[in-house]
């Protein structure tokens, strides 16, 4: 990951992914100077399409989710549900004319588990190949988080 890349990635992840402690999260965000924004979830099944959409709207060129391996979800079906929600989000993103690759899911592997840092690096490198998102609020019109929340009355 190099600092010269100006893309931003919103990365949601299940807290049961290896190497996903709070210290790891802070280290990744620090190393990428905030270009990778990490959002821990108690389970990937907690993710809703609106989380990904809000991330694309407010902070990121791409929004991804990392889940536990198939069959290894602590809550049995959280990662299965998450996959369907990511798919639904990709449909919405396509419908508004954005590349569906800006939303994605990475399912961990039981056989060769990788850490959050490794996965974050791979995903970030991938999204850096894409152009800047035309759907992302431009810095010129950027408002504070509290202003962003005003969308909901």
């Amino acid at each position: 990951m190099t600092d010269s890349r100006k893309r931003t990635l919103a990365l949601f992840y299940c807290r049961n992914v290896p190497g996903s402690s709070e210290t790891d999260r802070q280290a990744i965000e620090k190393a990428t100077k905030g270009q990778v924004r990490l959002f821990p979830l108690p389970c990937s099944g907690r993710l809703e399409p609106t989380h990904l959409l809000r991330a694309l709207e407010e902070v990121a060129d791409a929004a991804y989710l990392i889940t536990c391996p198939e069959g290894a979800c602590r809550y049995f079906e959280g990662n299965r549900r998450a996959r369907k929600r990511v798919e639904r989000t990709r449909e919405i993103v396509s419908a508004i004319g954005l590349e569906p690759e800006r939303v994605g899911i990475v399912i961990g592997s039981k056989e060769s588990p990788r850490t959050l840092t490794q996965l974050a690096t791979e995903i970030f490198d991938k999204i850096c190949q894409m152009g800047p998102s035309p759907a992302l609020r431009s810095p010129a019109t950027e408002v504070s988080a509290s202003d962003g929340r005003r969308n909901r009355l």
């Binding site: 809703e48 399409p49 609106t50 959409l53 809000r54 694309l56 709207e57 919405i92 993103v93 419908a95 508004i96 004319g97 954005l98 035309p134 759907a135 992302l136 609020r137 005003r150 969308n151 909901r152 009355l153």
Partner: protein, 222 residues
């Protein structure tokens, strides 16, 4: 409950095109239950529309709000304080909700974001089926709790038609034959003799014959 599905985003954007300040208005009742127009879906749609506007270099302000019920005046009234800040309302309510809001605020255009579908039963998570046509003259007692009007493709009141195969409908093999279900159920209840009666053609006047229906209950009124 009333079921609905979101219209395609392009259709919604087409209707919204003349307006610069839009309130996306969700409904927390039936359409929230069927995941079409509740708070979550309103947030998703509003977010998608804001991004679409940005992609197309359009300056549109879209705010979102969800009321508990769009089809009840008392629940709409709190909009009085904010609604005049907008050029239009994008309603994620059912057709009844859209019309209730339109009637309350006649000077503000209202855009339906959903296609209202049917009176549905929740079969499973994410699975709704039409089991009632709201005919105004319920005959479920005679048919063992299974409505041949809603669930038989041919709407036969004196069935079966004889075309079903292995308990599946010949018109649409994806659905069970309603008359097979009726006979199985009445047999189970020991009430198959109810089918010895000849049921006359349905009197549809009770559904649509004299314009929009209404119910007036004086004991419920002020």
């Amino acid at each position: 409950m009333i079921t609905a599905e979101q219209k395609p985003i392009e259709e919604i954007r087409g209707m919204m095109a003349p307006y610069k300040r839009v309130l996306a208005l969700g409904c927390g009742s039936c359409v929230a239950e069927c995941a079409a127009g509740g708070e979550k879906e309103t947030a998703m749609l509003a977010s998608a529309l804001r991004m679409a506007a940005r992609i197309h270099d359009e300056e549109v302000l879209i705010h979102e709000k969800t009321v508990d019920r769009q089809c009840v005046k008392e629940f709409i009234l709190p909009l009085d304080d904010i609604i005049h800040d907008y050029d239009a309302v994008l309603s994620l309510g059912c057709g009844a909700g859209v019309q209730a809001v339109a009637e309350m605020y006649q000077e503000i255009p209202i855009i339906p974001a959903l296609n209202t579908e049917f009176l549905g039963e929740t079969k499973d998570q994410g699975h709704w089926v039409e089991n009632c046509l709201g005919c105004g003259d319920c005959m479920l007692y005679y048919f063992g709790g299974i409505c041949p009007l809603a669930r038989c493709s041919k709407q036969i009141l004196n069935g079966p038609c004889g075309g079903s195969v292995d308990g599946r409908c010949e018109v649409n093999p994806d659905i069970p034959c309603a008359w097979q279900l009726i006979i199985d159920r009445l047999t189970q209840l020991g009430a198959l003799d109810r089918l010895e009666a000849i049921y006359p053609p349905k009197n549809w006047a009770r559904k649509q014959g004299s314009g929009p229906r209404k119910i007036i209950r004086e004991d419920q009124q002020r």
